[in-house]
């Protein structure tokens, strides 16, 4: 007997033919990552959860339009990005999306998984991320936390690679400056 891990592409093919169970398996593989991506750019758990459900529903409805199953991840995150910004526009239609800021750190993002780091560092990182612009923050989230390549980020954000790099590197410069005092105080 030969065991072979079911690839995402197999699940996508089956789901596109209406196999809901295959799609549920696909969702279980990606929901946590998509949820955390949306959580980082919205800063609100309820919004992130609602958007995650909307994203996977929309993805299921449009799965047949996905020509290359190998591009599933950027395609899915593109939907997530659009859904999040659509929500921003609906809530504050007369406000530039770049001016939107997530909720304060006291309400929002958790610091779980940092047992090897002091809570002070996690708080400092969360605060530093909040002080970035939404574009910069999203670029950091896609690159550092989600691990996308520049070309994929450009596809997700619908902008040139040069713009992606500009946002990301300016964000790094700000984060380095913000986090340097914490590091020099010696958290380790």
């Amino acid at each position: 007997m030969i065991f072979r891990a079911v690839e995402d592409a197999d699940l996508i093919h089956q789901a596109a033919r209406g196999a809901v169970e295959a799609y549920n398996l696909l969702v279980s593989r990606w929901e946590k990552r998509v949820y955390n991506y949306l959580l980082r750019i919205t800063g609100n758990r309820e919004d992130a959860l609602d958007l995650t459900q909307d994203v996977f529903l929309k993805a299921y409805q449009n799965l047949r339009k996905l020509d290359d199953p190998g591009r599933f991840a950027p395609w899915l995150y593109r939907i997530a990005h659009n859904e999040a910004y659509s929500m921003f526009r609906k809530r504050r239609p007369e406000t530039d999306v770049d001016e939107l800021e997530p909720e304060s750190v006291e309400n929002g993002i958790a610091f779980g998984g940092s047992t090897v780091f002091p809570i002070e560092l996690s708080l400092a990182v969360a605060g530093a991320l909040e002080r970035l612009s939404p574009d910069q923050r999203e670029a950091v989230v896609l690159k550092i936390y989600q691990g996308f390549k520049f070309e994929e980020m450009a596809e997700i954000l619908s902008c040139p690679v040069s713009t992606v790099k500009s946002r990301l590197y300016s964000a790094f410069d700000l984060l380095k400056a913000e986090l340097a005092p914490i590091r020099t105080r010696g958290v380790s």
């Binding site: 929901e31 946590k32 790094f172």
Partner: protein, 202 residues
């Protein structure tokens, strides 16, 4: 400002192709400033990674309800019934196919052998337009004569019936008159003397 041959952040993020990645790596081994910059970037990344991923408050799952997922043939049929233009197109296509099949399978009309044989055996010459007119006129005349004869017979029959009815009426009237006359004679004979005299009744 970095002295690296390529962007140090690109190298750190593994966005350079193989040869360039190697080139920067060799440069960094011999460049203190670039090594320190790389250390800062790594520390920043390490700090960022201190924020772990959150678990979802609840999982997402989709349910397939068979009530809302009819079989393929039914969906195709519903698609046709739900669309006027498509239904019209399908009807026109079916009609075209039926006409085509009928045209291809229907045999050509064959001549009636008997009629042709009779004319050929009779040795009749070709019938011209005058002959046709003559025959038509003859047929019309024959028909008119037949109709006239039938009309005359019908008129004669009606006149006979009327005459018989009239004679029957005359006979009945004569019998009625005769009956009244006989009654009058009998009454006169029996009761004529009992009639009151004029002036006695008063």
């Amino acid at each position: 400002m970095s002295c690296s041959p390529f962007d140090l952040k690109d190298y750190w993020l593994h966005e350079l192709d193989g040869p360039r990645q190697v080139e920067v790596e060799e440069h960094v081994q011999n460049c203190q400033a670039c090594r320190e910059e790389l250390d800062r970037l790594r520390l920043t990344q390490t700090a960022l990674m201190s924020l772990g991923e959150e678990e979802m408050p609840r999982r997402i799952a989709f349910v397939s309800d068979p009530v809302f997922e009819p079989p393929l043939w039914r969906r195709v049929l519903a698609g046709f019934w739900g669309s006027g233009p498509r239904l019209g197109f399908a009807s026109a296509a079916l009609l075209s196919i039926a006409i085509l099949v009928s045209a291809l399978t229907r045999p050509a009309p064959a001549p009636v052998p008997g009629t042709v044989t009779v004319i050929r055996d009779a040795g009749a010459p070709g019938i011209g337009g005058d002959e046709i007119d003559r025959r038509i006129q003859a047929a019309i005349a024959s028909s008119e004569a037949r109709q006239t004869r039938k009309a005359e017979e019908l008129v004669k029959r009606i006149e006979d019936r009327d005459r018989r009815q009239l004679e029957a009426l005359r006979l009945a009237a004569a019998q009625e008159v005769d009956y009244y006359r006989r009654n009058e004679r009998v009454l006169t004979a029996n009761y004529g003397a009992l009639r009151p005299q004029e002036g006695e009744a008063r």
